[in-house]
Amino acid sequence: MIKNFIILLAVIFMTVPAFCADNTEIVQEQTVQNKIDDIGTKLLNSNKIQERIMFVYDEADKKALLKLDTKMTSRRVFMYEGAYKFADNDDEIAAFLARGIVIAAKSFDGYFKGGLNSLQIAASPKKYEVIADKLAVDLMVNAGFNPLGLITYINKTVPQRRYDAISNKNLASKRLAFIYEYIYNKYPYFLVNNEYLENEHYQNFLLNSQNNRRLLMKKIETGSKEKIKYE
């Protein structure tokens, strides 16, 4: 009898911690999923996006962050743990999701119920990368997020390639410069009342974008309408 009781106790001791660990993980995942759902849905509502788009938090890691992959065109925006861990605040989570929404929303329009658009995005990711960045800024502002979060997020997460001439990706520095110019022209309020000025990542962006910002300054001073060839 005593022997059976001891065996029962041993079994309970061995299994309970495993259950607790599993529960904690599930609760943590659920918390992140809820946060992503809330921010993503706010972006959809504030921008009157009538298409149904889902947000999925997945712990599975993914090597390349902010890739315009086919999963995004399947009308779901995946945020992997590897991408989530870089987000310091809601602005940065919104930045990631807003880019995904732009691509996912495109897959609803056009021929074959958006199928052709999805193919075009897959065939020309470099072009749509910059467009997604710009339109993401609009989505963020309409939903009450600070678009400078997109700059800090990309500055943290996208590595700088050596060349982009024969690549299907843009240089991270170019993307950042295009985003900065877009915010400068359309939403200068966020630069004048800059909440990110003391953010280390934004300061790092200011540091590494000196040349590109000089080019923009020259364009503004000369009143040129030409597209700047950012470095």
Binding site: K48, L119, Q120, K127, V141, L191, V192, L206
Partner: protein, 200 residues
């Protein structure tokens, strides 16, 4: 007592000195020299929405000056549309025919390989007396979509490599908009949460 006060004073002095040093951050010269003297309004987010109501009003517009190609415009360029017919909501005239509606070229997408067409996205439509969040945000004009031909051709040529690759070099059409092209913008008069009062 005096010694204690002295130590406290020195401590406060060093704290202040440290914090003033920490405050030395890189300033954005571009913003300081070009934007600070301008009057800039805070963009108003759309947060008090209520999508219960299904009323929608169609606004028919046409561009005043035709655009022949996406290369003829720049992002942020102001453009004008004119209202083609009177717009009524519940029997009341809300927008008169021939009203000029200012808007902007928001984003330009250049035509690309694989027959991907160019695109011009117009936005920031300003209707007098109408909350901008209650109307469609953007209107997109696309060029001729040649990818409809390119993709099937590319797949058909896969049996003869590398001929399929040559289809990459077929570019998409330019985005153009004539002054007689009908542009439809939608107005949702009751999408604001204000006890069902009409927004006009």
């Amino acid at each position: 007592m005096n010694k204690l006060l002295g130590i406290l004073f020195i401590g406060i002095f060093f704290c202040c000195a440290g914090s003033s040093h920490a405050g030395e951050i890189i300033q954005d010269e571009l913003v300081n020299t070009t934007l600070l003297d301008k009057k800039i309004e805070k963009p108003e987010p759309f947060e008090n929405y209520n999508f219960e109501n299904t009323d929608v009003v169609e606004i028919k517009l046409a561009i005043v000056d035709a655009i022949k190609s996406e290369n003829d415009v720049y992002e942020g360029q102001p453009v004008k549309f004119r209202v083609l017919s009177d717009v009524h909501y519940k029997g009341r005239l809300i927008i008169k025919r021939h009203t000029i509606v200012p808007a902007k070229v928001e984003v330009i997408i250049r035509s690309g390989m694989n027959g991907i067409p160019a695109s011009i996205i117009f936005g920031d439509f300003e209707f007098e007396g109408i909350n901008k969040h209650l109307i469609s945000d953007t209107y997109e004009v696309r060029g001729q979509d040649r990818s409809l031909l390119v993709f099937p051709l590319k797949w058909a040529l896969t049996i003869l490599p590398p001929t399929g690759t040559f289809t990459n070099f077929i570019k998409g059409g330019h985005a153009r908009i004539k002054s007689n092209k009908l542009v439809k913008i939608y107005y949702h008069p009751k999408w604001l949460m204000n006890n069902g009062k009409e927004q006009m």
